[in-house]
């Protein structure tokens, strides 16, 4: 309604209103339609948002991945045992062992330790210590007890540089230092294990040798005596075999004697029978008598060839 004053609406005026919602919806649909094939600008947007493009396993890693990250150790240092004493007379209550802290103590404004602030805090609250040290500083500057030199303003630049380095490369520096420290500690632990290894291996070896000697003590006297007894048994059995062999030889001799006798008798009898049969064959009357009978029998067969 407020715009109607500027428009010269008259008889011949034509006004066409395009609803913005329709255009917005159209552009939204267009964007949705091109999600599978992002254009150049959409690719840039995906890169900055860390969305992996099509065909990528994961988003590419940037050199600024570790910027503005605060490093912390994956696991803290092992604690000192509670009952650890370097010497039996050590007073652990008033003089505990100076264990190495994992992180530096808390500080304020990058330069003032937190322990300076805590005594004031319960009286004046959080701002009290700041006002105290600020006022002290102002007093020293005002009375020219703290005099700035002309180069002092460069400290601000160094502070900014320090912040820049710690916010960008601080994470990687801390990580590298921690890994180096772990390697160094593992080197010393390796030396300790190497020193203990001899003791452990000696215990194992001596235990094995003790067991071995005990086994020998149990078994060897029995084994040696049994070896001698087995030798005796072997000799006895050898003698038994000799006797059995001799007896077998004699019995076999007797059997062979009988067999030889029977064989000779059989041979003599066969020889006699053969000689008599041959003698009969040679006689002419025997030949004629039996030959005629044979011829007649053959004729009687009436064989037709």
């Amino acid at each position: 309604m407020s715009l109607s004053r500027c428009l010269p609406l008259g008889q011949n005026a034509r006004v066409i209103i395009i609803p913005a919602r329709l255009a917005h919806a159209a552009s939204t649909q267009a964007a949705a339609a091109t999600d599978d094939a992002p254009n150049f600008f959409q690719k840039l947007a995906h890169r900055f948002q860390g969305v992996p493009l099509k065909g990528e396993a994961h988003a590419p890693k940037s050199m600024f991945e570790d910027c503005n990250k605060e490093w912390s150790a994956p696991e803290p240092l092992p604690a000192i045992p509670k009952d650890f004493k370097e010497h039996p007379d050590r007073d652990l209550v008033n003089y505990p062992y100076p264990a190495r802290p994992m992180y530096p103590p808390k500080s304020r404004l990058l330069m003032m330790p937190d322990s300076w602030f805590t005594p004031f805090q319960k009286v004046t609250g959080v701002s009290g210590p700041y006002l105290f040290f600020g006022g002290l500083f102002a007093f020293l500057v005002n009375k020219e007890l703290w005099v700035f030199e002309e180069q002092g303003h460069m400290t601000v630049g160094w502070i900014l540089f320090y912040l820049l380095v710690t916010r960008t490369a601080g994470y990687k520096i801390d990580q590298g230092l921690y890994n180096g420290y772990q390697e160094r500690v593992n080197f010393f632990k390796g030396l300790i294990q190497e020193d203990l290894k001899e003791a452990v291996e000696f215990k194992k070896t001596s235990a094995k040798q003790t067991e071995s000697l005990n086994s020998i003590k149990e078994s060897y006297p029995t084994a040696l005596k049994e070896s001698m007894a087995l030798q005796l048994e072997a000799t006895y059995r050898k003698n038994v075999q000799s006797v059995a062999t001799e007896l077998k030889r004699r019995i076999d001799y007797l059997k062979e004697t009988e067999e030889s006798k029977a064989r000779v008798e059989r041979e003599q009898l066969l020889k006699l029978i053969n000689s008599e049969v041959d003698k009969e064959f040679s006689d002419r009357s025997f030949k004629d008598k039996y030959l005629q009978n044979a011829i007649q029998q053959l004729k009687g067969l009436n064989v037709q060839l």
Binding site: K203, S206, L213, K217, E226, L232, R237, N239
Partner: protein, 191 residues
Amino acid sequence: MSGAAKRVATSSVNWSKLAERLVPEHAAELTRVKGVSGTFQSAVSQLPADLPKIDFAALKKALPAHSAVLDSLQKQYESVKIPYGEVPAEYLKEVDQWVDYNNARIKLHEVKVADGLQEAKKVEEKWAKAPPVEHFDRQHFVEYFPAHFYDLRYQNRIPDPCNIGLNETPEIENRFKDYKVLRRADKVDDH
């Protein structure tokens, strides 16, 4: 047949189980003992244990002509007495001597083990009393790793940060024992 008091036909020692429990230097001994015993064991297993029984009645029926000879053989065979014998006493005495040697060996081993365990206990106590490596102070490194660190506050040695071996020879110490500059042993001071 035999009048032996007791006969040993097999060894009662479990060789395989015994071999598992021995250390390599004792396994060589076992090989020799086992070899000897194995030789006789195989001989014993191959030979007959007793005289075979012969059926002389059947033989007589089969061989009537040799009845007298068979009678004689039977009589001889039944009267055979194969002597078994016994292990000589001096051999058993040798086994006893070996047992004494073995006992002495075991005693020596136990003494050595006791000494070794004492040394091992020292080492273990040393490292048990040490603080964790992560919390070592500077004097602990010198105390526990003397091969890698030194402390010039009480050790008489020259700093050698580049490890060129300044402390390995006494030349430097002899050279600078006299505070005078460029002093040599062979220099004649006759001015």
